[in-house]
Symmetry: C2
Subunit: 224 residues, 2 copies
DNA sequence: ACTCCAACATGACAAAAATCATATTTTAAT
DNA sequence: ATTAAAATATGATTTTTGTCATGTTGGAGT
């Protein structure tokens, strides 16, 4: 039973409002898991009785569209919480969470979260602000999907991946996504995604070597 | 200064958690407005220092995309609250609200809402649940935008308008949207929208007479 | 009733994106 | 190391969607 005080999730999430004694209770009731790459943390429609803390790794939040395509709604990385919306709504989760990396996560049972929620105003306000931020992002994302071309969405997504997950020593994007997953983020066919990557490669916006993608001309990419 | 007790907004929104004395305070601090068709309640980027109660009428929540197109993110109708997200996040509003009808709205100053928020747990939970519901809807909507064709989105939108806003005695859709606005909802060019309406008309899914749209074969429309 | 303007409609064409077919490369398993 | 399977890549083609041009209709206001 490791402590929660020094945990990265405590540092960056709504949990930072928790006080010493609450952190002790938290350490006591939480359970830790390892999720292997490709495995789900939870699946669309499931009833999740608590929230997950992402201690390490990245996962994709996806939804299966009726035509069988998997849309990636967003990516969640270490330091963030998962499953808050569903817990508050008291509804099944509407998205699946699948590991893109090996992950370290903790699970906090709903009962305990609700206690924090009711006794610690700072915590509940943090959760609310997070969800409000998610809502704003979702609305903005929606407009992007509805109004921009696939090419623009790919360019924006590459910049987002660069800025959010950083680069390796060789300057290639750190995050590891298949072409199919990248297509799932921008909402297009895998072939279209590959074709546009080729095009960006030829026009010197990016560089491809194997599955590695390196942004070589971010400025031009922003103007696409 | 009219009472809030019998107001439709109190009946259907988060406000239903308010107690007698809180309703009296509310009646005391609110201000009522009439918004004419086409006028904004607030505009993207504005700082709104409170929330709006929609007593009557319908408004569109829009966002201007960089290419100059207006995306309609959602429609809000009587009984609902507006501006909660922005108030909680303490950020400017990210969407504009523009009246599609003549509207009756009330404004509640932030200070008062925050008092309810802090003293009445039922109210704050209701607000949270509303925002969580909005978030779920936004994510689902996003997937629709990313994965479905314009034709499918138009069909779904027509059914949504039918189910949500109802029909007149002649069975035509009650809500009054221009073709441009309808196109803005589904995220397409106005001409494409008009063309598809024509097509639906010719295949007997809908009937057009002037600007009136009547759904004549909802079953087929659902299968598009 | 008439006029004018905006909204609606349609055709022709161009561009974007999806689909289907088929290589080629990478990766994982034996 | 070899092979099979999966992922990536590219070509050819079709479908979808956007754009531009132009015509038509319906109302608001005189």
């Amino acid at each position: 039973m490791s402590k929660c005080e020094q945990c990265i999730v405590r540092e960056f999430s709504s949990l930072k409002a928790l006080k010493k004694d609450e952190l002790l209770r938290l350490a006591d009731c939480k359970s830790s898991y390892t999720i292997k790459k490709g495995e789900p943390i939870f699946t669309e429609g499931e009833n999740v009785q608590g929230i997950f803390c992402i201690k390490d790794g990245v996962c994709k939040m996806t939804k299966l569209s009726p035509n069988g395509n998997e849309q990636i709604v967003k990516l969640i990385t270490k330091g963030e919480l998962l499953g808050q919306r569903s817990m508050i709504s008291e509804e099944p989760v509407n998205l699946s969470a699948v590991a893109l990396d090996d992950m370290q996560v903790c699970f906090i049972p709903k009962a305990e979260v609700m206690k924090f929620f009711n006794e610690n105003n700072g915590f509940s306000m943090n959760v609310m602000r997070t969800i409000c931020g998610d809502l704003k992002e979702a609305d903005d994302h929606l407009v992007t999907m509805a109004q921009k071309s696939v090419k623009q969405r790919l360019a924006e997504t590459l910049i987002y991946l660069h800025d959010t997950f950083g680069i390796n020593e060789d300057k290639s994007l750190k995050i590891k996504l298949s072409r199919e997953e990248l297509a799932g983020m921008i909402g297009t066919a895998t072939e279209s995604c590959i074709r546009l990557l080729s095009e960006f490669n030829k026009s010197g916006l990016i560089e491809l070597s194997g599955k590695k993608i390196t942004l070589t001309n971010t400025e031009k990419l922003k103007k696409v």
